[in-house]
Amino acid sequence: MSKTCHRDELICVSLSLSLRIDTRIAVAKWKYEKQYMCKSHRDVKVFSTNLKPPPSPTFDLLPSNSKRKLFCYELQTSNQIQTYESSSALGLQLTNTHSVTIYTDKMKLSALQQSYLTRRANSFRGSGQLDSAGDGAVKSPAAIFWLVIHGLCCLISLVLGFRFSRLVFFFLFSASLYTAPFRGGTEIAAPLDGPPPANRTAAVGTASRVVVGRHGIRIRPWPHPDPVEVMKAHRIIERVQREQRTLFGVKNPRTVIAVTPTYVRTFQTLHLTGVMHALMLVPYDLVWIVVEAGGVTNETASIIAKSGLRTIHVGFSQRMPNLWEARHKLESRLRLHALRVVRKEKLDGVVVFADDSNTHSMELFEEAQNVKWIGAVSVGILLHSDESSSMVQMEEEGAVMPVQGPACNATDKLVGWHTFNSLRYTGKSAVYVDDKAPVLPRKLEWSGFVLNSRLVWKDVDDKPEWVKDLDSLNGVDEEIESPLSLLKSTSLVEPLGNCGRQVLLWWLRVEARTDSKFPSQWIIDPPLDITIPSKRTPWPDTPPELPSNDKVLIGTQEQTNKPSLRTKTPRSRRSRSKRKHDTKVIGVQISTHSEQN
């Protein structure tokens, strides 16, 4: 009746079809099937390997009315065919690597079965049932199939009694669940969602659907993911993350009120741009209060305007002094000034003291959301100390970390503070801004504190009693060293950042000399001096040594800011060798320059 054959690269499957024959299983291993020959080429239909993969892995091949039909599939470089059963119509998968899969159902490829099925014991549920069904169906339509099942099950349930009959029904029923919808329509190409029919090595002998032994590696013919599905996956990830945020994130985010004292100087743009970008990344509402010593200037305004944030730019009449000590004091007053703005405007949120030269991690702003009244975080202190002796000394003393912040005990209770020990720097630290020595922080920097803005409001009902009123500080602003001075009791400070174990921001003071000059708003106009004319490229080798005199270096800064009479070559300012050269030439220039001064 049916036959399977193949020529060199052609596998032909002769199918005998009777309509509404029930599911048959076909298993092929074409390399074992060489003895079969193609009967005729008359009604051979060849599918080339260029066949586009179907949108679903199965596709129709069976005309529903054909009595007998020969199908051939051309195979390319295939060394293995494995066929899997499915409860649906015939499907063919071609891959140009090494496996071909034929799904059949509703038809019988008996020749193929001979080779394979003999290896497998027919289980009760799978092959056994299907066998009987198939034979019946050859003779008559599906009614007989059901009759057979009916009779069989009646018999079994009678014989084996109530308990076992239930089991049988489970299996039967699960089978009918899957096959029922597809019965009758040979042309339905269903996806491969039915369970594989039962077969099992003889050793097992029970009704499992899982085959022991070697299976094919199922490789689908379409290698690339469907872009629609990729988008779906990303939507799922997004949804999952949104859920995570609502479950574990900040519930009702408060406005972040960033307070930044600043003044116009060489490094202002550098520092302020850095902190501005950090603030722009904060995923909460944000108000940026910039308090400027010496009054509001266009320079500062133009920088902070670029942020696109809600800013409050206020001036402070006093100019920034040159003594570090006085600077720290003035900065405190600037911050207090900002707090008065908060108080006046009744800004609601969390106050973060973001100094313009500091570096902030985003977790700081996340942690700030958790503060009830006043919180403290650990601040990493970045000191430069260029004297090797002091480095050695530090190493000897060991273990003292340059970190400020709250100190907790094992049970996460605030027990004290890590402060910066400035003693060892006595006589070595910078007093004037121009001093070539480490700039020391205060005992506790403002930037290590986070406040609930209601703490400084004038009349709040639930304001704690342990905080001083801002108005009561009048005249003694300079004595406020840190937000702790605003409190009557420091025991209620909440340690943040895993109880101070995480450093959430870094304190750094790097300033140019007070007399250093820079182009206004860093726009070079008029053009600078040309130190090397462009026609002298490639650059002549320069002596490797850098100028030893620091004054000259600083002079460099001064000099580069000088307007020049020569033509500009902005492109040439990049190369490293150029810069070395630059330095030297300018060093020469500066000496003459200072003579002129």
Partner: protein, 449 residues
Amino acid sequence: MFKSFQLHHRHIPFRILLSKIISFLGAQKWVCGNWGLFVPIFSLQLALWSWAGTNQLKEFQVFYFADFGSAGDVLEDDPVGRLKVFVYELPSKYNKKILQKDPRCLNHMFAAEIFMHRFLLSSPVRTLNPEEADWFYTPVYTTCDLTPNGLPLPFKSPRMMRSAIQLISSNWPYWNRTEGADHFFVVPHDFGACFHYQEEKAIERGILQLLRRATLVQTFGQRNHVCLKEGSITIPPYAPPQKMHTHLIPDKTPRSIFVSFRGLFYDVGNDPEGGYYARGARAAVWENFKDNPLFDISTEHPTTYYEDMQRAVFCLCPLGWAPWSPRLVEAVIFGCIPVIIADDIVLPFADAIPWEEIGVFVAEEEVPKLDTILTSISPEVILRKQRLLANPSMKQAMLFPQPAQPGDAFHQVLNGLARKLPHDNTVFLKPGEKILNWTAGPVGDLKPW
């Protein structure tokens, strides 16, 4: 049979009503035994299903396929007072000496057999009076025989087990009373008491003759498999709780990996051709998805293995040589939805943990469509699964912590044993009755240990 209706759909009363109707109709078929009634009843059921939606179908399948499929509160049952266990006193060569020889057994996937022993010794369910015991436990560490690479070789296990049983049956009267039907054994090897790592060999061997009446506590679980006998308790493999705990990262860490898998795709040493190991499923995962950016899969085992799982939405748990895998435990602990690729697997404590609800089941032959299957799950379903996974009692039931904690895997085993009580009448043999064949099985197993 109706146990499945005390399930997790309690909050939707009409569902229960509906399933009761369906089950009643289903039961009618048995009662009348008349298949002529089948067609009308079946069509009525179909109508009811289509009305009740697809979930009903799933519930129906659970109901029909097996009696297990319960959930939730069972995990919080307290076994104390519901059963008494007598622990046989065996010479230390059956347990402690073996452990001394190779302490790696304590951190192995199969360490449950050791920790179960330790747990029972100090458990309140232990009784020192064997006369009042409901269950008897034989502390024998059959899988603690590791190769230098740490792989367990079960070749000596049958002889060791046989020797232990011979010992207890000659020293105490309780084994002979039931031939082991009220005894339980922990056999956490790949194929449980079949004691072989190759499935075909394991099937050939079958469950050790002497254990055919005992209750087996094993990690192996596959429906209709000779190595899983009725009444066995499937347990999760041992995963080190402390180690996992130290690798926990904050819950808020965004899950940005869609699918994660770390492990073998091909076992070149044992299966050079491929297609035998994991029945080809792992190889198919690799071949189809190695270049797919949604799939973070590799054979490397990085130090961030546990962290990666916490950053993934789905974690693949494909079968290996055996259907079970420690990834099941890890996925539950780390809140990553387990994608279970192992046809017919019987999952740990399936009568107490709603695996259908927390995981995704993908048939082995559908691995090539894994991406389609996973992306077509609606986000709401995914979030629901994640919420269920977040349930601490679910995580607790997967672990064997030291010391034991309420609701952990030890307690689930005891719960499982308690649920089998009181013993059936068939457990106790009539005087002179012998069922077990002491001389059956491969000749090699009969040699003294």
